[in-house]
Amino acid sequence: MIILLLLPAIVLIILIFCVPLIRYLWLSLHASSVVTGLEALPNYGANWFRLINDDRFWQDALQTSRFATLSVSLEIVLAFAIALLLDQRFRARGSIRVISLLPWALPTTVMALGWRWIFNSPYGPIDQLLILFNSNIESSNFLSNPDIAWITTVVADVWKTTPFVALILLAGLQTIPNDLYEAFRLEGGTKRQAIFRITIPLLKPYFLISIIFRLAQAFGVFDLIQVMTGGGPAGSTESLAMYAYINAMRFLDFGYSSTIMIASFILLVAAGTISFLLINFFRKVIY
């Protein structure tokens, strides 16, 4: 009887999450593209062979990891600072919390468009400000310079998701009893020391869950990149999800697109496992 209540949820979750993965696995072993007239014909691992030799896939994998690593680290640091701030008591804390949460609540596509305008060259505000202060300056070309463009996407991502991470960390802060700080202060510790000796160690599970959650999300970044840069310039901002999307929807190569998705998933799990092991390792070394 009790199990029956669980059944609809199990069915839906299997349908939405598991069936697609099995389907991808099957498709990745078939040629299914515009050339085969959209029929699926077995091609005995040719997709996987192509993937291993595909520079673009590996470049995108690198780019996606780079994007995820940088934006998650920035988010964690910023969010920690914000959480510490919001944990204090001051007037209008509620409204400030709402304001700081706004970026998270808005649709990604909406603000991606906004950021594209902000980084526009030469009519965007940042460029105009640069020109205003120094009229000799060449325009910044944020979005057309492959070395910088991906950083602008990081900025937009950090802007959007930091509030969320801050909120999780804030929840963690509120579980730490005040007596601990009080005792530490009586023993002669400073506030700064308290952060490193009490706050950070006790917050570890919250850091961990935010990092894991955000890494997984950042690894699947799609909306933001598609609207802000479309993957360019020179493919420098293209993420794995975008490459899979382009292969399916633009090139009509479903076999290869599925292969990319399975491979991304494997990479993500591998990266997750490695980082988990690393964290564990360092924990053992340090303590």
């Binding site: 199990i3 609540a105 902000i118 009519y123 909120l167 929840a171 599925s258």
Partner: protein
């Protein structure tokens, strides 16, 4: 005193960081195209409502997308709650070992970058003829929201005193009655937080809406925004974009202000218990 000042400056910085991009959009949305290309020069005709006029006179009018997004959001929230409350209840009643395993599975599923599912979901839509249907769109959305919803609600149920249900059982209430009159009212706050988070998710979802909806009048807001075209067709239509983003943001800002508490408690619950 200095510490207070420093805190105030940080608060100010935080506010600026959070809303400057939004303010800039707001400002852009009222600018004429000429003002946009030279924002710091003196221009006679700087302010205009044209951008908004354009967005509302488009075919279909922009509010339509807001309605669509709201409909999908409502359907999804409803379906998700309908499935996740019983599921969460049974999860709590299951033997501990199974429950822990299921929780682990649910957590890892909730972490899954769902964008990778779009192709298979598109095939679903095609083979079951679910494309271009807002109600159908809420099926994958519900599936995607389920893991988190079940986790949130089950942690709320677990917090309830155990003897409460026993007492109700002794009073002769059957499962449905206990559910309806004891459980649901008590976990209502948790359900409300879950509902709002699910609503926000489906309101903002992009890749699946992009592949499941091709009819103009059924587009949801994020897709419509990404697809919006503008003013003098051949110049960069950022004024109109900005106006659309402003209109698209207003409902969410209102939701944020009204349901601030629920959102915060929902998210923090998820973190604390997950």
């Amino acid at each position: 005193m200095t510490e207070l000042n420093r805190r105030n400056t940080t608060i100010l910085l935080l506010i600026l960081w959070s809303i400057t991009p939004l303010i800039w959009q707001l400002y852009t949305s009222f600018c004429s195209p000429e003002a946009l290309i030279s924002p710091f020069e003196n221009i006679a005709k700087r302010w205009t409502l044209d951008n908004y006029r354009q967005v509302f006179q488009a075919d279909p009018p922009f509010w339509r997308y807001l309605v669509n997004s709201s409909l999908v959001g409502i359907y999804t929230t409803f379906i998700t709650l309908l499935i996740s409350i019983p599921a969460a209840y049974s999860l709590v009643k299951l033997p501990r070992r199974i429950a822990n395993v299921s929780k682990l599975v649910l957590t890892s599923v909730a972490l899954f970058p769902y964008v990778l599912l779009f192709l298979a979901l598109l095939e679903f839509a095609r083979s079951l003829n679910l494309g271009n249907n807002l109600l159908a769109l809420s099926i994958p959305y519900s599936g995607l929201s389920l893991p988190l919803a079940i986790l949130l609600i089950s942690s709320a149920i677990k917090d309830l005193p155990a003897d409460l249900e026993e007492a109700a059982k002794i009073d002769g209430l059957n499962l449905w009655q206990r559910f309806r009159w004891i459980l649901v009212p008590l976990i209502a706050p948790a359900c409300a937080s879950t509902a709002i988070i699910v609503f926000l998710f489906s309101w903002n979802e992009y890749p699946i809406a992009l592949t499941w909806i091709s009819k103009d009048e059924l587009l949801t807001l994020p897709v419509a925004i990404a697809r919006l075209a503008g003013s003098s067709v051949y110049s960069v239509p950022y004024g109109a974009y900005a106006a659309a983003t402003v209109i698209g943001s207003i409902p969410l800002i209102i939701i944020m202000i009204i349901f601030q508490k629920q959102i915060v408690s929902g998210l923090t619950q998820g973190a604390v218990k997950g």
